[in-house]
Symmetry: D2
Subunit: 405 residues, 4 copies
């Protein structure tokens, strides 16, 4: 493990930090007020378009795509991307400005890796350009989707088409006005062996039968403008060549997709937690209670020290997971990714909870980014599989490794 | 400590549970949808009026008022009120149906205890009838209000009037359409000894100079229809006889007010946590993942067992605090109240967090009461003084008690 | 639940506290030094005999036996015994002075409840008199004994005798010089249905074939003079009428025996934790670091407050379990006993760990009772079934209770 | 940060692992039984001499000394030493076999860095050869020694000598039969500014007035053959040139000494925790309860996964602290060293506690190394300053860093 960053990344880090300082932090409050105003539901704040163009001009674009897709991107490894994603994670909405937001990142990677030329032309290109957005429909309300074999959505061949029926939810991004395409996971052959029952298929947003049922709240927040939707797929018909990679390959694609997705969430959450830490330090230094600064009170110092230790440990663990993913691929890095999935979101929730406490009432309301970071961390403890599932699988891996000694 | 309930309370418990079963749980989802709809901001769902009348008819009204005000109420002790408040805590908005909601409960108690006949006639009577609502303005954005001596709001005598200037926030209930009166804490004599600088004064909501600056969110939730407001008091003029109890008595009133207020929050939160536990049991029994019911999975059982233990302990601690408050009064029960303030909200947050995890994505969104309970618990860890302040004072009390041994 | 203590208990409490103050605390250090001196292994400090006689004279004797055996004892309910056991728990070895030490308490209760007249004459009477001591041999090194059906010790009928073969460990008290009788659990019929395979049998300590293999340490402490032994039963022959209650009744007896045993451990551990709290308060008040008393440092106050809250909650929970056991018996109180088993020892370990930290190096060594309390608490997290087993069974009970709602 | 190990370290790792496998694990139980036998108090097991010679022959000797003392040692950086110390930490007594045991390591480094030629000849050389051992006398029973300015031991010039008076405790190694020299911290000028009041002085073990008062237990364990002693220095007279570096330089030396000392403890504790993890995996795989292997039970898997995550995070944090210490020195690495001091021992205690629980009764007794690892971890939470002191200083550093943003 060599965590020293390359010159390229040092330079990108500098540019990204400058960009954030000049363009993002100054408009953060305004952005948040805009999207929380119920009159602006599912409307993208106008400043976004300008900033995306600026980011693209400065080369701060598509940073997430791994080296093998250097044609489309900065060609960074996961280890190189980590400090950049951390910086973006300091302001939840900022990933979008650099075309590095989930679930589009995972979707772009899937298309880059498995898409046909036509699929790439139709969907990957506009996604890479930031002209459209996409969603990924996997989780279903009626079954424990952390066990992917439970999935009930059906994809049935009908002549030259497939007909898709199912109910999905927690489909992030479906309410975004530019969302134009869905990657849907469903079963093409329920009678096949477990791991080849599933397929992934591309469905244009405007296909007949795609119904947005309702947006889902996270602790009362609708996450406008992208939203998390419940989506009904009611006899949706798409051409057969919309299938990705081939029938029965859905589980395989999902495995490849979720590893980086989880690591990106973790990188961003480290940025979120670091932001919370810095905010709590400023607050502690400026606030006086019972005759002395909070920063001179033992319990506050202790909470800040504990938070700093937890963040630094989680950061190192995430870097080591990124390194393993780069060197040995998804399958080998399974344990490392399970580790960060179990550790990082909980850590970020915990650190932010402490920050809220130090801020008092101000920490609960719209005056700081803390509730947003808290909600994101809490959400990721469930997204892409609840922590318990990862912990159980990790425990099994570790037992296998050491019980033979 | 005798926690056996009197026949009166057994009967009230039965009636209250029936009322909840027949009238509240069935409309819970509808209520929540109504108040979360941005078109209904600060509008009381119509069903509330009907249910309040029904509750009044059934004698389920003003249950919170202690025995000495039996004229106005059921005349229950804190210990007797505890199981009833717990039941109400199962549905956050239900306290209001029984005229048992904060901050009106505390305000009514203050008026009953310290109000002049005129003050009682003007404000206590309509409050007891449920005709109007009230708010309590203590916390200020610019200072650490957990240390009450920091308060900056000024109350200045001017002829036969007082003129009030200050900025308050986390003023719960100010956005409620029936909110007609504010109890405001401020300084009448900043040069007096610390504990007699402060006074409380009644300000009609429609007094000139009372400005609602903005509603505050708790994790993105505006808590419509009552809301938590930031309020500017800009040269608000009220008659001198609006003062409560007399100049310099504010701190004394606050002390008397906050003890029961904190205990009521804790009682309700135990109900909230118990609800979360029951929901997580149902979920665990009905959901299947990886080939077996969640209820057959060790980690789930362990979380449920841990939650049940924590709830039962917190419940007993709260009952013992209520008993101490009944028998020995606010001052003597200071340690017991600090204990529950430190323990109960954290416990409720923790239990609800586990319930959310067991529910998966469903637990995060508007489909269960879990995010509401979670937010309420998180809020109470800060309301009426952050846990850290109570813990420090409790630590000091305990050290004093035992270090002399 | 009525936790108000009867006059009888108030009086016993006063007498017991006086006894401790006059006779036990003053010799505590001397006792500990005696038993830790390797020259005194398995020797009872001479002071014990004197103090036992004194305790008997004062009526502080056999307090543990429930009301139905009032002939032999003070005739206290579990609820009445709780505050007395708590006081004894403040000095680990003191229970023995009042003939209230495990495992003799459980063994006496078994003999009182199930013994034949002859068994009572031979063993119960001298045990009640404090003339002899006993051990309880259940756990085995080779199997997970928390699952009692795993037990491998065999009890085979041979003419008018039984022949017992097995290897037991964690047999507390076998090294005590007065240990004269063993109650042994083993299988009389391995082919019978699970719950009637087991029997209990009385084995005199001096029976041929009873071999003390070695004493077991708890964190390096041999717990002289009683010890925890590994015992080999090698073709031990005893008369058939040594069987308790009858063949196949072992599981039934164990169930009845373990409930009170667990609750007694918990009562004592609350006393241990309370002692640790008081010690840490004294230390905090008398020790100065970085220019101020520890008691003025926020983190110390916070740890003390947290400890006080945890102890008080655990105490109330234990009282409520005792009350349930008194009123509804072992089977009905299963959930309450599982709760305290899961909560109390962990709490006592945690509180003592904090006390050690506040004492610094002094807290680790023989200068305070803290390592002893810590070790006892850690031990009870495993004794009578590890916490995880109780938590799992409790979780199942709770889920059954609420999932039907 | 580049954690890739150099070829030299890869080779040393291989050799050390082989040495442990061939020579240490096979005699571990025998060693432990020897030193726990009260007949062998303060006697070194005979096997130690043989193994030390073997280790020296294989070049596994004095690995701890940093590069600048490559004359004496393998010349490893802290980062290079880390994986080796971790391996030694798997068997607590093994560090001694490689002459890498505390407090001799710190004492040797002090002598190498600050000793005069004569001091080096007399004490450093035999220490490096493993012919003698040493102790470090800093902590005092009567004052909070974590605040070094409290130290009361006096070092008074008297002609060509110094006279030392004081009472020290937790002096590790003083009972070892080969302990020949003490490094003592005391005050030469109590009226000087705080940081130059103290000096360090060399005292031969056989100097008149050096009295071993008593050995101190850690949870009942005397840690024979080295022990932790209480030592009385009663008018001990030594030549003036026994002073180290000069009067008033004691605090400065201590700062330099304690950084590496703390990091070595942490490296070893990671090895201890890793050992506990591996043991618990083996146990989980081989033990059956309630009809299935522990390794198939969710709670066990979860505890193992959690432990693996905590160990890996602590390991990375320790490596990063070693790297910072190598590159920027003690002062700059203060935050990193405070972090590991706060995190690693607690982590090791926690992991070992879980392992004990999975082992059941066996985990508490002398049958596994778990109680030893547990005791070592618990001890280090207090040694070289209690965690709370480091946490507070770390909190202050972090606040200073970020509150200016």
């Amino acid at each position: 493990m060599n965590f020293n960053q390359t010159d390229k990344v040092v330079e990108l880090t500098r540019k990204l930090e400058n960009f954030m300082a000049e363009n993002v932090y100054p408009i953060e409050h305004e952005y948040e007020q805009f999207v929380r105003n119920s009159n602006n539901l599912w409307v993208v704040p106008p400043v976004v378009k300008t900033l995306k163009e600026k980011a693209k001009t400065e080369g701060l674009w598509n940073l997430f795509l791994p080296e093998e897709y250097a044609d489309y991107s900065a060609g960074l490894s996961n280890l190189e991307y980590a400090p950049l994603a951390e910086i973006m994670g300091r302001v939840e909405f900022s990933s979008d400005l650099f075309n590095c937001n989930a679930p589009d990142t995972g979707n772009m990677e899937v298309l880059a890796r498995y898409g046909t030329d036509e699929q790439k032309k139709n969907w990957l290109k506009p996604l890479l350009n930031g002209d459209i957005r996409s969603a990924f429909l996997m989780t279903e309300p009626d079954v424990a989707s952390s066990d992917a074999t439970n999935i009930e959505c059906s994809i049935v061949k009908d002549g030259d088409d497939y007909i898709v029926n199912g109910r999905k939810w927690w489909s992030t991004g479906v309410y975004h006005p530019q969302c134009k395409v869905l990657i849907v996971m469903g079963k093409t052959d329920p009678s096949a062996p477990r791991h080849i029952q599933q397929s992934m298929i591309l469905i244009p947003m405007d296909a007949a039968g795609v119904q947005l049922v309702r947006p889902l709240e996270v602790f009362g927040d609708l996450h406008s403008p992208q939203g998390h939707g419940e989506v009904l797929l009611d006899n949706v018909r798409v051409p057969a060549n919309n299938i990705l990679l081939g029938e029965g390959r859905g589980f395989e694609i999902a495995q490849g997709r979720l590893g980086p997705g989880r690591i990106h969430h973790c990188m961003r959450l480290i940025g979120g937690a670091q932001r919370a830490l810095e905010l709590m330090c400023s607050r502690a230094e400026s606030r006086i209670a019972f005759g002395k600064k909070l920063s001179d009170q033992g319990v506050v110092r202790d909470q800040i020290a504990q938070s700093a230790c937890e963040i630094e440990q989680a950061r190192l663990l995430t870097l080591s997971a990124a390194d393993k993913l780069d060197k040995h691929g998804n399958k080998e890095a399974k344990d490392a990714i399970a580790m960060i999935k179990v550790i990082v979101p909980s850590m970020a929730q915990q650190v932010t909870d402490r920050a809220i406490q130090i801020f008092g009432g101000m920490g609960l309301c719209q005056d700081t980014p803390l509730p947003g970071i808290f909600g994101y961390a809490r959400y990721v403890r469930l997204a892409d599989g609840p922590d318990e599932v990862h912990s159980s699988q990790l425990g099994k891996l570790i037992i296998n490794r050491y019980s033979k000694i």
